[in-house]
Structures are given as structure tokens and as C-alpha cells.
Amino acid sequence: MRYLPLTPDDREQMLARIGVRDMDSLFRDVPKLAVVGRSAFDLPDHQGEMAVERALAKMAGRNVAAGSVPFFCGAGAYRHHVPAAVDHLIQRSEFLTSYTPYQPEIAQGTLQYLYEFQTQVALLTGMDVANASMYDGSTATSEAVLMAQRITRRPKAVLSGSLHPHYAETTATLAALGGKVVHAPCTPGKSEDIAALIDNETACVVVQSPDVFGLVRDLRPIADAAHAKGALLIAVVTEIVSLGLIESPGAMGADIVAAEGQSIGNGLNFGGPYVGLFATREKNLRQMPGRLAGETQDAAGKRGYVLTLSTREQHIRREKATSNICTNSGLCCLAFTIHLSLLGEEGFARLARANHARAATLAERLAAIKGVSLVTPSFFNEFTLKLPRPAAVVVDELAERGILAGVPAQRLMPHDAQVRDLLIVAATETVTDEDCDALAKGLAEVLA
């Protein structure tokens, strides 16, 4: 077996040194009833690289890759162009096959990029500090709510009705254990009256912008309303590229930002692995979950980086830790950091403008189709259309024509009758004029 270097001779010699006759002797503590032979497993034997590649390529071939068709899906995961250098660099052995940087003397590469990542996330979100990542945007959001409950010592979390439903469910699963979760009504394309739900029991308000329908939200009045009652504003961003064009949540008064970083550096990957971004104000630092890289000096006086403030973390604080998170999204952070470094200030702003321009043109064009209207007056690279028919059916019909037209809102909210005809359409820089032509033509035809 190509991955196993020991030979039968080696094994014999090693057993002799240990002083046992066979492998069974090494497993002697295992109860006999639990020891099974090869025949207990109805699974194939080992295979060569070609055979494995063939088997998996066959499965891959049964899927419609986003890049192979006109493609407009978003709703929390976005298809962007990732420069070739990113994927090359993250596959360097020293990054790919290293562990969490617990030995800083031989992990400065990882520690420094985490420090750069933290800085980038703080800058993008307009916050003071950011951690070294969470699993994804949804778990970052639920951790943010738990953090707000700890800081305010209040139980209630108010979730916007336009928060991505998967994020809302993930958060409710966890935050309802020791507190209370209130869902504001869902008002596609409009801001709901969330201020009315904030009371003296409220730990936090969770608002996504752009929201799940693509609507860009002004967070300032919500921040004011929350702060007036001593609650925190948690801003959620699922499309981080939007911050190249839209005002940062920090500048609009957010106390914690929980975001999905997939759009920068990371592919769609059918939903994971992604990278959760988590940032907050300096004063909340000690309640923050997750790893942190910090600057320090070595014994020779050279600048270097270490994992720090680990007294917040599970391996030190055990049941009193701020979170149970251990492994996070290291390599996805690296992809994010490299891609954003390649873009730089100028490239990032241009990328954001290219996305918005593409979406704006497409929205106007599709809204001109008979029976179709634009639900979201403001948006970044994603908008919602009201169709004259159930959107799920239209999406299926367009899929048959080889067009992935977007996400029907009902896929996320099956019980909300008002969203039945709503189609969430994303258009990033990867969408071509031909793709837009195909969608406009296809949509007009299936609706005719």
C-alpha cells in the first residue's frame, strides 16, 4: 500500500523489540467481543491512484459545475474568480501540512499570516480587532450571539427576518439553550421594524446586510435603537466583497461583525469548507471566542508572533472557556489573506464596483420582462425578483435549459407563502454578457 512505509520485515523486527509475538498482543486491552476481522467490513480493498481517480471523477461528472453554465446562485455562497497564485500558494507543504501553530518558533509563517488576516478583517469590517477565524459565517453568527449574551448578561436575541434562514436556525439551535431567540417578521425588500422588538431583556439585535434578499441595509438607526436599550448590534455579512463599495458595519455602529469570508480566495465547494470572520470592539476582546495571533518579541529581540489570550480558550479554561472551538479554518484564512493581498485597496474596490455594475445592469434588464419586478430597490451584487409563477418551478425549468438562474427564496423559507414567487439572483464579476443574454432570454421564454 503506497502510503505505508513499513515492510513485513520491519514489522517483525519492531514486534521483537517490543517483546510481543503479534499485533493481537498490542490490542490485548480491547474486549474480545469488539475485535473484528477484515470480513466484518463490507468494503473494498485498497486501490491504486488511477482507479480512485476514475471512481471519483465519475461522481464529479454527474454534477453540473457552476463554471460550465450561465450561473446566478448566491444566498450566502458566491462564485468569484480566484487568482491562480492563491491555490498554488496554499498548497505549499509548509502551509498545507502543518498543525495549529502551538510551537511559534517553527510556525512563524502561519502566525504571521493569521496576524495579517486579523488585520485585514478588522479593516474591512471597520472594527478594532478580529480573531483568527470561525468555521463559517453561520457559526460565527451564533458565537456572536452567545458573546453578546455573556457581555450584557441578558437572555434575548432578536434576529432580523431577513437574516439568512440557515444562519437563523444555526443561531437559534445554540442561543435558545440558555436564552431566548425572537424572530422579527420577514419583509422582503424592506426594512422590518426591528427596533420595536428591543427591550431591556435584549442582549443583541442581529441584522444582515446585504440581507438574504440582497437588500443593502442602513444599520445606523438599528444601532442607535439597540444602544439606547443597552443591547448590542451584531452585523452579519455573507458577501464580504460588498464592503469594497458599501459602508462598513463598524462605521454604522455595529458592536460585533460576523461574516462569511468564502467570497475571497475560496471556492464554492458545495457549502464548505468556508471561513467565518469575527470582529469586534477592543473593549469586548476578552469575551471573544476563537484563536488570536499577537505580536511579541523573541529572546533575541526580533519581532515575532504567537497565539495569545488563550486563557479564553478550551484547552486552558475547559468548561469556563468562551467557546469550545479548537480547529478553525486556517487554510481558508490563508486563501482569503493571499487573495485580498493580491487585490489590494485598488483591486478590491474595482472588484466590488464590477460586481455591482454587473448586477445593476442585469436587474434592470430582468425586471423589464413582462410580469417580473424588482423587489430589492438597493443591493450589491444580488437582488430579488418577483416572478409571475413559483420561482422553484422556474428555476427547475431553466436548469433543464442549462441555466442555473438563482436560488428560489422558498428553498430557504418553505413556510412563508409570500416568498413563493421570489427568485434571489446573484451576478458577480464571473458572469459574462453571454450569460446575462442566456438568462434574460430563458426567463422570458419560460414565463411566456
Binding site: D10, A66, T173, G267, T308, G330, G344, H356, A359
Partner: protein, 520 residues
């Protein structure tokens, strides 16, 4: 000397420290922060400028720059290549971190995860366009349930600790369905920190169970602590001392007798996969670290994946989404009321369907190894650890009788009176070209050194490692402290000041002007 006057001999080796003009040392380059490089207006990605109307921005256009530096592609590539060279890696050398399982990461797995048919799929595409992806998940589920002998598996947890949380929330839901609330969870004091942290996060109180002198959990104390208020025990098996809990079945039976559940931390499944089925031991839930046992790369701390296998008693409560096969096709159940009869999902662990990129890698690993190779890998891992234990226990000190599983545990009693600590010993390994072993864990052993060689090392490699550790131990005992004091000497950095890093945390770069302003 050749005829151009170019010296061709190797010359005299300079032994004294030579300071270089650049501050770099040959292949070892110092590297500034990305924020200290570059210049305004530069970019490493060419994106055409577009006409922009602000009509749809809702008056919320960003005011002011983000503050990112501008660099060209070659500059960015060089920066991150230089950073990479400051890292140790399993590809470069033996990485004996106990409990972390640094085994070989086959590149085939990377290649497969990047097939557009997997890597370029959107999680919310119409399900008829992702049947191959759902088939892959279903195949992986079959491998995981077959290898563990458990009937069901929840695939969405994103790492080991996330899997623990999923397992405990499943248990909570099962108790609720029985109309019970049980507050207490028993956790051995040798457990990974994630276990008590997870129990607390899931709303339980943690009751610690001490170990016995032999490194096994004290089954009698554990049994005495069981009662109608105990929701579950969380036991790592093989345990963090590197031993198989020999009374595990008896413990499981007692746990079930009081109506509690048995959560197993599966971080060490790689010692027994293909040889022992956790399902036969009475386990109700166990997470599997795909990034340990099935070799999806650690990537400097993630991403991982932590699917949770579940017993018959818990299967119905697995979180959304569920994968079902009906009408000749796979279907993802994303909402509770679409679930098959009997299913009562407790909620959702994360957006979408889990770590697909890791699933592809793990299945590539499994298909490559086959059931025979998975078994052989476990055996080789256990064999190498025992070989290390047998080869070093005369010069280092092993607190427990073997045989061990895939990890060899030593304590620091062999260093007593030498003035050398576990930390010194571990850091001196860096100078010898090795990553240190896990140290000061498990907490139940003084100055612990936990060594996990994995199945990926040749006998020659393990022999070399043993030789180095033997010589180090002998030197320490002989009072030769030079190589230990202040080690490492030959790493990109000397020991770093962690105390001041925590006392006055600097967690991000700031512009010099901003730092100055803040100080004024």
C-alpha cells in the same frame, strides 16, 4: 582555483556568528508584514474599470478607503513563499504531535477535491444538478457507519469540537423526547479541553472523573457518580494517555442502565479503525475527525470536519440537513417537516451541508487504503508507538504500563534534578530538526510528553528519531544542559515572549500615524 579566479574549494567553515548586512541568512529570509510592503495604486489582479451608477446603493456607499496595501503578483507570491519557509510541516519531517495525528496527506486527495464537479458546486443549486455530490456524501456515510458499526451519521459538523456539540445536542434532544432533563455530564480529567467546554456550551454541568494510577479512567468512581441526573459520559477511547479503556464495555452497560448515553471522543479512532468497531462497545455517539483519522490536511489549524456517528437510540435526532434516497434519486432534507417518518432533527449545526471539500479528500483516502489498508494503517500506527515506548522507556520515564495504542506517553520524572524541563526538552527537539511532541497534555501526568509517530514513518525514520531522543535524554541526565537552555537555537525565532503578548495584546497591524494618535 579555476582559470577565472573563482575559488572551487569549500574554504574554511566560519564557526563564529556572522551578522549579515541584510539581516537574512542564506535561505532564511526575514519578511515584513504585508502592510509594510507595496505602494498606493498597485494591484496584483487586473479588473477592468466600469461605469458605476449609485442609483441602487441606497445612499450607503463606503466613505473612505479600507486601508489595504497595493502589491503586484510577484511581490505577493514572494511574500507568502517566504512566510511558508518559516513553518515546519509533515511533508518536511516527522511531526510527533500526540492526539493531533500528523500523518501523510496524499496529494491525490487535493486533486480530487479540486475537480470542478466537486469544488465548483453551489450548495443551493437544484438538487438534480448535484446528484454526484450527494452520491459521494452517501458513500462516505457508508464507510463511516461500516467502519464504526453504527447505524447513522450526522455529516454537517465542521470540526471535532463541533461534532462533540452535535453529539451532545442530539443526546439533549433524545432526553427531551423522553420528557427528561438531566443536567450532569461526566468527563474524565484526562479529557481534551473541548469536552468540558462543549458540555458547558450545550447547557450541562461538568462532573470530573479522576484517573486511576494506571492511566485508565477510574471505572468504579465513574459508576458511583452515575445516577438519574446524568445525561451522558464523555470518554475518549483510546484515551489521551494512549491507552485503550479496558473496562469500556462495562462502563457502557452501567451508563445505559441509568438511562444515560455514552459519548465517545473519537479523536483517537485512528488507532483502531478497521480492527475495532465502536458500535460493538456500546457507544451512542462519536465524532470522527476526518482531518486526523482520514488525513484531510490540518492546514495550519483547519479546516477540519467532524461527522458524528450515532446509535439506534440517537439516530432520529440528528440535525438538518438529512440525506435520503427515494424515487431513484438522492434528496437533501433541509427542513424538519420534510423529514422521513420518525426523524426529529434537533436543529441545524451550520449553513449548508457540511465540509464537502473534506468529504472528497476523506473518501479518496478511504478508497485508496481500502478496508485492508485502513486496518494496516491503524496497526502500523500502534506498532510504531509501542516501538518508541519500548525503545525509550529505559532512558525516559513512562508513567503507565504498555502496551499503548497509537501514542507513547512519557512524564518528566526522568528529568528530575537535571534542571531541564519538558519545555526545554521539547524545544531542543526543534534544533534536531523535529517538531516537538505534544507537551503538558494530558493534564493528569506531570510534564507530559505525548508522542504519536503515525503509520506514515518508515522504520529508518523512527529509528533516527529514537536515537536522537535517547541521546538527548542521556545528555540531560548527565547534566549537560547546554542544548536545552534557551532552545531552540536554530529556528527562525528563539523562544517568544508569550507573557508580554498576553499582557499587552497587539492583535493587528496599525498605521504608524494611528498608533501615534492613539498614544496622544
Amino acid at each position: 582555483m579555476n582559470n577565472q579566479g573563482r575559488p572551487s574549494g569549500s574554504g574554511e567553515a566560519q564557526t563564529a556568528e556572522l551578522a549579515t548586512i541584510s539581516g537574512d541568512r542564506g535561505l532564511d529570509h526575514e519578511e515584513a508584514l504585508i502592510f509594510e510592503l507595496g505602494r498606493e495604486g498597485m494591484t496584483g489582479v487586473d479588473i477592468p474599470e466600469v461605469q458605476l451608477s449609485e442609483q441602487h446603493l441606497g445612499g450607503l456607499r463606503r466613505q473612505g478607503p479600507v486601508g489595504l496595501p497595493g502589491l503586484s503578483e510577484p511581490e505577493v507570491v514572494r511574500h507568502y513563499v517566504r512566510l511558508s519557509r518559516m513553518n515546519y510541516a509533515i511533508d518536511a519531517g516527522l511531526y510527533p504531535l500526540g492526539s493531533c495525528t500528523m500523518k501523510h496527506n496524499p496529494r491525490l486527495n487535493e486533486k480530487m477535491a479540486r475537480l470542478p464537479g466537486f469544488g465548483d458546486l453551489h450548495p443551493l443549486q437544484p438538487q438534480q444538478t448535484v446528484q454526484g455530490a450527494l452520491l459521494l456524501i452517501s458513500e462516505l456515510m457508508k464507510w463511516l457507519t461500516t467502519l464504526t458499526g453504527m447505524p447513522a451519521v450526522a455529516m454537517s459538523p465542521k470540526a471535532g469540537a463541533h461534532g462533540e456539540l452535535c453529539g451532545l445536542l442530539t443526546i439533549r434532544a433524545a432526553l427531551q423526547a423522553r420528557g427528561e432533563t438531566r443536567p450532569r455530564i461526566l468527563v474524565p480529567s484526562s479529557a481534551h479541553g473541548t469536552n468540558p467546554a462543549t458540555a458547558a456550551l450545550a447547557g450541562f454541568t461538568v462532573d470530573e472523573v479522576p484517573p486511576k494510577g494506571d492511566g485508565h479512567v477510574d471505572a468504579d468512581v465513574l459508576k458511583a457518580k452515575l445516577g438519574p441526573d446524568v445525561a451522558a459520559i464523555m470518554l475518549t477511547n483510546p484515551n489521551t494517555c494512549g491507552l485503550f479503556e479496558r473496562r469500556v464495555k462495562e462502563i457502557a452497560d452501567e451508563v445505559h442502565k441509568v438511562g444515560a448515553y455514552f459519548y465517545c471522543d473519537g479523536a483517537n479512532f485512528n488507532a483502531i479503525a478497521g480492527r475495532v468497531r465502536p458500535g460493538d462497545l456500546g457507544i451512542d455517539a462519536m465524532h470522527i475527525n476526518l482531518h486526523k483519522t482520514f488525513s484531510t490536511p490540518h492546514g495550519g489549524g483547519g479546516p477540519g470536519a467532524g461527522p458524528v456517528v450515532l446509535s439506534e437510540a440517537l439516530a432520529a435526532f440528528a440535525p438538518l440537513p438529512l440525506l435520503v434516497h427515494d424515487g431513484g434519486a438522492f434528496r437533501l432534507v433541509e427542513h424538519a417537516d420534510e423529514a422521513p417518518t420518525g426523524a426529529k432533527p434537533f436543529g441545524r449545526m451550520c449553513a449548508f451541508h457540511g465540509q464537502m471539500g473534506m468529504f472528497v479528500r476523506a473518501l479518496a483516502y478511504m478508497l485508496s487504503h481500502g478496508a485492508d489498508g485502513v486496518r494496516q494503517a491503524s496497526e502500523d500506527a500502534v506498532l510504531s508507538a509501542n516501538y518508541i515506548l519500548a525503545s525509550l522507556k529505559d532512558v525516559m520515564s513512562a508513567p503507565f504500563e504498555g502496551p499503548c495504542m497509537h501514542e507513547a506517553l512519557f512524564d518528566d520524572s526522568f528529568l528530575e534534578g537535571t534542571g531541564v524541563t519538558t519545555l526545554d526538552f521539547a524545544k531542543a527537539m526543534i534544533d534536531e530538526g523535529y517538531h516537538p511532541m505534544t507537551m503538558y497534555f494530558p493534564l493528569v501526568v506531570h510534564g507530559a510528553m505525548l508522542i504519536e509517530p503515525t503509520e506514515s514513518e518508515s522504520k529508518e525514520s523512527v529509528d533516527r528519531f529514537i536515537h536522537v531522543l535517547r541521546e538527548m535524554a542521556l545528555e540531560a541526565k548527565a547534566g549537560k544542559r547546554a542544548r536545552f537552555e534557551g532552545a531552540p537555537h536554530f529556528a527562525p525565532r528563539r523562544r517568544l515572549d508569550e507573557t508580554s503578548a498576553a499582557r499587552k495584546p497587539i492583535l493587528r497591524w496599525k498605521r504608524k500615524d494611528d498608533v501615534k494618535e492613539a498614544a496622544e
